[in-house]
């Protein structure tokens, strides 16, 4: 399933790049992009674990930027 989310308080471009790299390493994620300019997070991940994967993504993001939130 592919879905796009808005992001809140994503403040630095390099952080977005780091998040993207970290999330793409997660199991079950086929492809993810974190766009700093759009403040958007696009993810293509396994259907049956989708929500769980999004939670994991949120955790990865907060490792880089504590304030950044996926708006769902």
């Amino acid at each position: 399933m592919k879905k796009r989310f808005d992001l809140e308080d994503l403040d630095c471009a390099n952080c977005a790049a780091k998040m993207e790299a970290a999330i793409n390493k997660l199991e079950g994620v086929n492809k993810a992009t974190v766009s700093f300019i759009n403040q958007k997070f696009t993810i293509d991940a396994e259907d049956d674990r989708f929500d769980e994967i999004i939670d994991l993504c949120q955790k990865e993001m907060n490792k880089v930027e504590p304030d950044c939130r996926i708006l769902r």
């Binding site: 308080d9 403040d11 630095c12 471009a13 300019i37 759009n38 958007k40």
Partner: protein, 649 residues
Amino acid sequence: MTKKQKRNLRAIIIAGVLFIGLAIFEFYCKHNEISLNRFVMLAVFLVPYLIVGYPVLRKALNGIKNKAVLDESFLMTIATIGAFYTGENLEACAVMLFYQIGEFFQSYAVGKSRKSIKELMDIAPDTAFIESDGEEPEEVFPDEINIGDIVVVKPGEKVPVDGEIISGSGMINTSNLTGESVPRRVNPGDKIISGCINGDSLIRYKAEKIYEDSTVAKILELVENASEKKSKTENFITRFARVYTPIVVILAVLLAVIPSIIFRNPSLWVYRACTFLVISCPCALVISVPLSFFGGIGAASKKGVLVKGSNYLELLAQIDTLVCDKTGTITEGNFKVTDVRVEEDFTREECIALSYEVEKMSTHPIAMSIKQEAERLKALDNDHNKNKIFTKYEDNYIIENISGKGVIGTSENRIIYVGNIKLMEENGIKITELYEDKKSAICFVGVKENNSSSARLAGIIYISDIIKEDAKSSISDIRACGVKNIIILTGDTKSVGEQVAFETGVDRVHSELLPQDKVLEVEKILEERGDKNGCVAFIGDGINDAPVLSRADVGIAMGSMGSDAAIEAADVVILDDRLSHIPEVIKIARKTVNISKQNIVFAIAVKVITLILGALGIANIWAAVFADVGVAVICILNSMRMLRIKKNI
């Protein structure tokens, strides 16, 4: 401004005022040689430092917790702590303050450009009106409209979904989508595309697509997705950023440790190492490069050109060979009567009227163009004289199609022959000196009235596909953009192809090609040029040239407003059918690539120079702060120039 930005700004102002006060105080004490306790001063300076630096420190702690020690906040914290350690309280505080000011500007500038791009793409209406059981139209969100709903669009409002007009006719403005400023006239029965702005009259239409499948949603999705397909430059920057920070940090550590052991004055070398840490973030590059591509894509879409990815924008800037399909791209794609020559006792109208009688039931392109011409002539005339001409030949004709030759219509009064030279010869019609081989389709019209003994020539109708008005000027503009080879591919005959090539000024033409031959032709062109720099673009109208579109380095589809297949297959989509968009988008692409190159060279140069000067002790922490955030802000401002060219290219 977001909440977070406001909070940061407040912290910056409070800390800034405190900082200036402290700086003056320290300067005053130094001047009057009042000695101050070092620890008291440290404690005092920590106040503004903590106020402004709290988010950074928090993020640094977060980084430590997650073992991400190369996090820029962490490095910034180390740098400032190092400065405090060496007794440079003022500088430590200033670094944090200016770092935060820079961050604030970055986030503000990026937010601003994000907003202006959003405005650029403000083509979808927020609400729509549909007819319901009640008397007043019901207000709904565009995505609530179902297929078959009757949508009401008031003057000045945006069309929410694609559909077909039931009632109301007027001018609609498509400039939002296509950049074309001349409004288009629509009448009941015409298709209407979402995103257009209704002119001066109320239009009712039947929704044919839901919002998600409508043109406007497709365009928005395309533009939003475009930044996901990264350009080579962006990928280079991401890779560069990954190695840049670790290298600078290692250098900083070495700089702090080795000379300290040799020269035994650690605080000097720790201070110099701190300048390194301040410059260690590659942020300027990581933001500004995608931002300029994003701006370029936004500027192009404002012109009615959708670029499906940053990578394609980059390729557009390198085009040196443009391969064009002829029909629908260089020419309008519909045949028109371009000339009528008649024998002395016939008028042009009579000649058209004769052929009209036998062709009016046919759907062949030639027949269509004759019908069109007949209708045009009828409409032109107000005193009905010409309509008399048209009624003169009205009769019950028995139509006989002679494959590959033409049509014969037989009635009680006469026989009409419309077709090629073979048809005329077979029926004993003499071709007079009227005939001249022109590079277009030729249609002979012969007639045999019952009272005459033989059939004779009435006239000759020349029909050709008209070259687009802007074709010639666009081709020369494209050439002026540095595209060296322009090649036309066509399924038409050699003479037609060469004529078009001559009139538009292209270099080469390959004619008599079947659709599959076009792919081979493009492959040949790709092969011929080998590994040279630059790339080959193909431009077609998207109808049955999907394989060619995907084979070329960049596939450009034009005239595709409302055509899903073309939008799907191409890399670059031109919504209307004006060729003049090509030079426009090439210019936008070149400018984008130039701006991102400027940013890369500028940012890397400033950083490397500052690193060298910092190691030698010539550049201090202040210079390092400029090299970090100052450069980022300058690069962002430079990228934002992309947004301003929406009007003047």
